[in-house]
């Protein structure tokens, strides 16, 4: 499992290269494009200039407040990508740790951890977040991202645990034990690489979820505040004019889809690079 260059191995597949390229492009778009675009908060003419279809002046059209949709999609990338990257990494890591420990240790450890997960799944996330809102009125974005991450690992842990339950019975795990490998080594050297399948799927799927979740939170008084744009928020705001002015929500929606597809390609590469058996 010693890989001198994980990145190089990962990028050996063409699809992973395409994914990395696409993500780089989206990040650069979010960082650089706003420099050349109008102020995303400016409302030039809220009566006459609202909901204009795409044109040379506003390639993605304007929204219900006459703001430039392209500029908002570009600036929105910052919030949405930050949320996606940090929250997904956090929840995948936590889910993986809990899942591996529960599945490998079994017995009482497994029972306690999984019943905590059950209880967590039974209580709506909304109320936990509402309590946080009461306690922390003006939550900064980093804190929000961490909270999305640490409340999102429950399902992942169950998926990883299921995989470990199955793997634990495999011959090579007993062999590792026989050769004197400690529990830590077995869990992270032998079991972890083999749980990457469901873990990466969960992480990929979570990217789209958390971008929309962030927007949902702005309706609770959490999340980013106006006028800062985010992709999810733009989609929600464009809901009322979905059929009459589809460009308001279509372009941020396409941005999310592009991000998810790019992450999926990258995840495929990561799996190929880390999985011991995949050709």
């Amino acid at each position: 499992m010693e890989r001198p260059s994980l990145v190089r191995a990962m990028l050996a597949t063409p699809s992973a290269r395409a994914g990395a390229l696409a993500i780089t492009a989206i990040v650069l778009f979010g960082l650089l494009a706003p420099l050349a675009l109008p102020d995303p908060a400016a409302q030039p003419d809220i009566v006459g200039g609202a909901l204009q279809p795409p044109s040379a002046a506003a390639p993605f059209g304007t929204d219900e407040l006459s703001r430039d949709v392209l500029a908002r999609v570009a600036v929105g990338a910052r919030v949405s990508l930050a949320v996606a990257a940090v929250a997904v990494l956090l929840s995948a890591t936590l889910g993986m740790l809990v899942g591996i420990v529960a599945g490998y240790a079994g017995g009482a450890t497994d029972a306690v951890l999984m019943r905590i997960v059950d209880a967590g799944l039974a209580v709506p996330r909304l109320f936990v977040l509402l309590l946080l809102l009461a306690a922390w009125e003006r939550m900064p974005l980093p804190a929000l991202v961490v909270i999305i991450g640490v409340t999102g690992w429950l399902g992942t842990s169950r998926l990883v645990r299921a995989e470990v339950l199955q793997l634990r019975a495999e011959a090579y795990v007993s062999a590792a034990h026989a050769l004197g490998a400690g529990p830590g080594r077995v869990m992270f050297r032998h079991l972890l690489p083999n749980t990457l399948g469901p873990l990466l799927v969960a992480a990929t799927l979570a990217v789209g979820d958390v971008i929309l979740l962030e927007a949902g939170l702005s309706f609770l008084g959490l999340g980013v505040r106006p006028p800062t744009p985010s992709w999810g928020g733009m989609i929600y705001d464009g809901r009322a004019v979905l059929t009459s002015a589809p460009w308001v929500s279509l372009f941020p929606g396409l941005a999310i889809v592009a991000t998810v597809l790019a992450v999926n390609l990258l995840a495929g590469g990561l799996r190929a690079a880390l999985s011991p058996r995949e050709a």
Partner: protein
């Protein structure tokens, strides 16, 4: 097995009880006034608010409120909805059929179709696999309300092929036959269930595909092939069964869909389910309805987890604990 199951059941019960207690105090600790909804049309006077607070026991300390909730629960009485002024058990009973019908259809479609398609992708890799992945992920990244609105607009409004909302046609004659009623129900079911299935399909497909790829590289698959088994038998009888773990887990995780549903989709299609009822109860802090709905969700969460654990043992006997 019986002892393991009994222990596991006990754990489930304790978990459910703890979750309900947690939920009870959490909803009351959350900011927001349960009478807010009643003052939306007209600001309540302080006197009127005091009477209503006393009527719903909101003036009592949380500990006492919990005691009356718990004693009511034992008798099967979940209290009276603050917003609707009706018994919660009645409200839940009215909404349960709609939820189970929609949730059941969606679970059937997602898991039946999803795991088949995912497995198919794994055994026939290539251009079709990549295309299917892209389509499924695109649908998954599409917000469910967005797809719901587009489908309602295209199919319900532009083409007028299917009803745009609701679970049944209120103008259906009173003497309509059972078949006519069933047809009416199915016509209303199509759009919401297709929306939810399309959005969720990617998850089962991806997990099934990943697990299948994993299993197909196992040495014993090669052994089975060497024994002369055909591709079909290897793939569908051996590999598929061993690759079901993630999908079974996911099913356990999604079982609450039967009652919780999808709030957005229920609302956009005006589907009379529990998801929308519970979401409205959150939005109005209708504590009794909220607790009733969360009881059902909790039951299905622990049941889903339990069923998944049982399924592991059935699928792969080596997993079973001593």
């Amino acid at each position: 097995m019986a002892r393991w199951l009994a222990g596991r059941l006990l754990q489930a019960l304790i978990t459910a009880a703890l979750a309900v207690v947690l939920m009870f105090f959490l909803v009351r600790a959350a900011p927001g006034d349960p009478l807010a909804r009643l003052s939306e049309d007209r600001q309540l006077s302080p006197e009127a608010a005091a009477v209503l607070r006393a009527r719903y026991g909101l003036d009592q300390p949380a500990g006492r409120q919990f005691r009356s909730f718990a004693t009511g629960l034992v008798r099967g009485d979940l209290g009276t909805s603050i917003e609707y002024g009706r018994p919660v058990t009645e409200l839940l009973r009215e909404r349960l059929p709609g939820s189970v019908l929609l949730g059941g259809t969606v679970l059937l479609l997602t898991f039946g179709l999803g795991s088949w398609l995912g497995a198919l992708q794994a055994v026939r890799r290539g251009a079709m696999d990549r295309l299917a992945s892209a389509v499924a992920l695109t649908l998954y990244a599409t917000p469910s309300f967005w797809l719901a609105l587009v489908l309602a607009w295209l199919v319900g409004i532009e083409w007028r092929l299917l009803p745009a909302a609701g679970m049944r046609d209120p103008l259906l004659p009173a003497d309509a036959g059972a078949l006519e009623r069933l047809a009416d129900l199915l016509r209303h079911l199509v759009l919401p269930s297709v929306t939810l299935a399309a959005v969720n399909l990617a998850a089962t497909m991806r997990y099934q595909r990943a697990a299948m790829l994993e299993v197909l590289q196992q040495p014993w698959i090669a052994t089975a092939r060497a024994r002369g088994l055909g591709d079909g038998a290897v793939h569908w009888r051996h590999a598929f069964r061993n690759a079901l773990f993630p999908v079974v887990t996911l099913f356990g995780l999604w079982l609450p869909l039967l009652v919780a549903g999808s709030v957005f989709v229920e609302k956009i299609f005006a589907w009379p389910g529990l998801g929308a009822l519970a979401a409205d109860a959150v939005g109005s802090r209708d504590y009794p309805v909220l607790m009733g709905a969360s009881l059902l969700v909790t039951a299905l969460v622990v049941l889903g987890s339990l069923l998944a654990d049982v399924a592991y043992a059935v699928l792969d006997p080596r997993v079973r604990r001593p």
